[in-house]
Symmetry: C2
Subunit: 195 residues, 2 copies
């Protein structure tokens, strides 16, 4: 049987706490003191698990980016007609956003003040470009409206999806199920609000 070890922090479990605080107060607005209080250990103990504040940020945005880029390798994003692949990526991006909500939230808010933040922004732009290419392909195949510039359409599409991090809260009281949210995203994005 499994031994019950002392209840202690790992870099990852500490990360989970830190990311919550980062999202509440903003990365720059969060002090190590805030983190220590939220984690229930002293400020100096945090440095036993991670090198510093920026390592926590790096781990968080790295995890978010892994989730997003993972989508692009899935069969549904690789095979089939472009519009179907775009629909798939749209839905799965919404899924990943909700599954990895705090990590992606942090990713979408970095402003480029540190090396880590600039790296995150660059990788994120890369992801956007991959999706933009998909959208252009779908326009070329005649399945998407051609009267809106593809880059503009991509940005508005992501704007809609990414806004999830501003208001979506998992299940529980008053929370809509993730499936319904993802459905709504795909429906509105492709067919619009009108009857």
């Amino acid at each position: 049987m499994t031994m019950s070890k002392r209840d202690t922090y790992t870099p990852d479990s500490l990360l989970a706490v830190a990311v919550e605080v980062f999202n509440e107060r903003g990365y720059d607005g969060t002090s190590m003191e805030h983190l220590s209080r939220a984690a229930g250990i002293s400020k100096s103990s945090i440095y036993h698990h991670v090198k510093g504040k920026e390592e926590l940020l790096h781990r968080a945005v790295g995890r978010a980016l892994d989730g997003l880029f993972g989508i692009l390798g899935e069969p549904g994003a690789v095979d089939g007609r472009a519009i179907r692949r775009l629909e798939y990526v749209t839905r799965r991006t919404a899924d990943v956003l909700m599954d990895e909500l705090p990590y992606v939230t942090l990713l979408l808010r970095v402003r480029g003040n540190t090396t880590t933040e600039r790296w995150a922004m660059e990788r994120r732009r890369e992801f956007d470009q991959r999706v933009s290419a998909l959208l252009r392909a779908a326009v070329a195949e005649g399945d998407l409206r051609a009267d809106v510039e593809p880059r503009l359409a991509t940005r508005l599409l992501f704007g809609m999806i990414n806004s999830l991090v501003e208001w979506y809260r998992p299940e529980g009281r008053g929370g809509v199920a993730g499936d319904q949210v993802a459905d709504a995203v795909v429906r509105l994005a492709f067919d619009g609000l009108r009857t």
Copy 2:
């Protein structure tokens, strides 16, 4: 003829500089030192024009909120069928976002750490609720799809519009004209991407 006065800052012209820096580095990530360098005057001189960092934030978000609430009083937002009013508000919100870009950008990024930020968040929620009511009315009149929860639809709609602040840059090189952007927003929101 008019006298040529000394070239000097007013609270408002200083605000314009400050808001740019706030948006680049984030409010918390911006020090008074950063502001002074960007404005070309010393840190202490800033305090001659404004009471402090937070007053700059307050002025900025106040201006953004005035712009947004102004829309709700315009004839196009008051008279006519609900779907037309919603379309009007959607387009005008996009317009205001682009006209007052740096100020609205700051508004959409506050996280609630200070009194000013919490006040801004509350007034913003108020605006969202006014639009949400409009959307519900349009659903009741049968002009909008009923298979997506109105609150959810409102959030996704705003998500799309508000994303403007993340990428729209006025005219100039590589910048699309504001009119075309607003057109695209309304078209995608109401009729979707599909052909």
